[in-house]
């Protein structure tokens, strides 16, 4: 679903009026700019391309420079395309329009947040899939403490099934967290306070989806 792009700033905790202490993530959301509007006639489907974050002109390729010039905006770091945008951005969109958080979201609303999780490198099955390991350090165990155990039968099926959970690259994936509550919006600073944690490291790009 469409929404606003932003940057994760960090976490804090606040007390709500009912006395509950909530862990929150601070996100700098927007302002985003409309860089392209795709239509049924020209592109075969309806969508809107939205950009966020500034970037130096010298670091922009000529192709992108032309693309931004069409929308009459400064070069943007991140570009994301949304479909089914009509209900969310209500007013008629034009190229170069500014999208601000307070116009898209309101306090108390629930949002989904997309980010890229922190990379953990090549990890074993205990960290990667939550296997329990052997659980015994003695009773004949030797270097098996965090081993996965059996990965299948020997003579039948005599192969390892596809999708068998094993060690490998962990983290660095696109992750979406559902239903985080917007606790506060500070429109002047483009800041949003959402309850709960958000994938990714500080200063990484996140998408707030409706």
């Amino acid at each position: 679903m469409p929404g606003v792009l932003g940057k994760k700033i960090g976490m804090t905790s606040v007390f709500l009026p009912d006395g509950k202490n909530v862990a929150c993530t601070v996100i700098e959301a927007g302002p985003c700019f409309v860089t392209q509007i795709k239509t049924e006639e020209t592109d075969g489907y309806e969508a809107v391309q939205v950009g966020y974050g500034s970037k130096k002109e010298k670091n922009t390729t000529n192709a992108l420079k032309g693309h931004f010039k069409k929308a009459n905006v400064d070069p943007l770091r991140h570009l994301v395309e949304f479909r089914d945008f009509k209900e969310v951005y209500s007013e008629d969109l034009n190229l170069g329009d500014e999208l601000r958080v307070e116009s898209v979201f309101e306090e108390g609303e629930f949002v989904d947040i997309v980010g890229t999780s922190k990379g953990k490198g090549f990890q074993g099955v205990v960290k990667r899939h939550g296997f329990r390991g052997v659980g015994d350090a003695t009773h004949g165990q030797h270097n098996r403490l965090r081993a996965p155990g059996s990965i299948g039968g020997a003579s039948f099926p005599a192969r390892v099934f596809k999708g068998m959970r094993m060690a490998g690259q962990t983290g660095g994936d696109r992750v979406k967290v559902l239903n985080l509550k917007i606790i506060k919006i500070l429109p002047e600073q483009n800041l949003v306070l959402v309850g709960g944690s958000v994938p990714g490291s500080k200063n990484s790009m996140v998408i707030l989806e409706k």
């Binding site: 804090t12 905790s13 202490n21 601070v26 500070l186």
Partner: protein
């Protein structure tokens, strides 16, 4: 910490200004709101502050220790909790450490704190 986070925290930190200054070694009386069903009443907890943690953040807490019926009781309060009605400083103590954990091993006369004057 990021300036932007501080900015957000400001809005939730009003309670900080309404309490008197206190630090570890001080004897304080904390008035805590307790909810029982629909009724709300105030409970007091009096003892010595033995530490303040995460100072100047919204997560700041402090620990109060008292001896109740011969048993040492420690209670941790979030400074900005709306459940804290009032903090009274009864006595300023003179201590050399910011965290006076050594009180835990002492009782009676040995657990006294010198008054600051």
């Amino acid at each position: 910490m990021s300036e932007l986070i501080k900015l957000v925290e400001q809005d939730y930190a009003e309670a900080r200004n309404k309490y008197p200054e206190f630090k570890s070694g001080d004897t304080v009386n904390i008035h805590v709101k307790i909810k029982e069903g629909n009724k709300e009443r105030i409970q007091q907890f009096q003892g010595a502050v033995i530490q303040r943690r995460n100072v100047n953040t919204n997560g700041e807490t402090f620990t109060v220790r008292k001896i109740s019926n011969g048993v040492g009781v420690e209670r941790i309060f979030p400074l900005l909790s709306p459940n804290i009605e009032k903090i009274e400083v009864l006595r300023k103590g003179k201590v050399r450490q910011a965290r006076i954990y050594y009180l835990r091993g002492k009782h009676g006369k040995a657990a006294r704190i010198r008054e600051k004057r």
